[in-house]
Symmetry: C2
Subunit: 224 residues, 2 copies
């Protein structure tokens, strides 16, 4: 909270720049959530007047775009041609995207709240499409497969974030769901009451994502 006091020395007045603003924005988003991501809170975290930020960004929307671009660029592309099969590389690439979205739930919100304008994440898409073609898919099938993989990845990350949000703190995200389902009237919801523990176990983030991802990849690449 308290920023490092830069001594009483005559500190250069212009200690603010785009980089510092973006860093504080990511911190604020990841730590306090989208609702607390305010221009005023951002400026306060930077130890500066609210309007100082406007000297480096046109407005909040430009900051949102920049944050999204910065985080999407952070996806670690696995080294190419490491002797694995295209399908294994695909798996790892998708997991990297999921990990990013899962580590920074704020990006999901930014993706939802504002359409993508720039070339953010383009490198990842290029790589995935290339791998899909390498497995033998024809061009329309590769395009549909790429879209389906991204759709599932975004949905799974959103689902996980929603679960964490609902659980509040550090508790097990499935716990609330288990008790909720277990307490349902068994006449109307026999399967949910019965499968409450299993459904709760399926809220475990990465393992669940991998289960669905393998099924999806299996279906998309069937026969290749």
């Amino acid at each position: 909270m308290t920023n490092p006091q830069p001594a009483r020395r005559r500190v250069p007045r212009n200690t603010l720049n785009r980089e510092r603003v973006l860093g504080a924005a990511v911190d604020l988003l990841d730590h306090a959530g989208p609702d607390a991501f305010t221009m005023r809170a951002l400026a306060q975290r930077l130890g500066v007047g609210t309007m100082a930020v406007y000297s480096h960004f046109k407005g909040k929307d430009e900051i949102i775009d920049a944050v999204r671009e910065r985080l999407l660029a952070e996806v670690e592309l696995p080294p190419a041609g490491s002797g694995r099969t295209p399908r294994e590389e695909l798996r790892e690439l998708c997991r990297a995207v999921y990990r990013l979205l899962s580590d920074h739930p704020s990006v999901l919100h930014l993706l939802t709240v504002r359409p993508v304008h720039g070339d953010e994440g383009t490198a990842v898409v290029e790589r995935i499409v290339g791998l899909l073609l390498a497995t033998g898919l024809d061009r329309p099938a590769a395009a549909r497969a790429q879209t389906a993989l991204m759709q599932y990845t975004v949905g799974a990350a959103l689902w996980t974030a929603r679960g964490r949000q609902r659980a509040g703190g550090h508790e097990d995200p499935g716990a609330a769901l288990r008790t909720r389902f277990a307490e349902l009237p068994a006449e109307r919801y026999p399967h949910l009451v019965d499968l409450a523990p299993e459904l709760a176990s399926a809220q475990d983030g990465l393992p669940q994502y991998e289960h669905g991802l393998d099924a999806l990849l299996g279906g998309l690449l069937a026969g290749y």
Copy 2:
């Protein structure tokens, strides 16, 4: 014995109720989008002072919950045991959920912005789990499959809504993406430039969803 109504010529003062408020809220959300969904705008649409709504709902959050519940309850469950195979019923059920989310993009926003507390959509989940068990999946596999199907459905609907939002009006959602990809530097993004038309075609909503859904179902039910 229906009592003869007093039939006062005088128009009843209290013409506002929860039902009317919810109807206006859905209209406002679907027509003007989440940003325009304001308590003041809602009241104005109802021809009433802003605070009148607070006589029927505790606040905006309660309206959000009620709208979500109302729309999720609208998912048309296909008639049970219509002679089709469980897999065909599963497909139709998932398509119904997708259609609802696609027709009312606002629900997606409501799902993102606020965790689910009530039993909304529980009936659909019950049905899907039952069908998955009927295909022969064991309990953990059925739970994971149910979660994966919902994750993919939410992600696909969100993707489609995002594309429509980016396209602005009634244009082809893939058009913008096609030109954007086609104009990329071909040295860095050879596949994207090459597959721009196919990737644009994959932004067509329901057909793309069905492609991914069939792949996912195929992978989840492989061997059963």
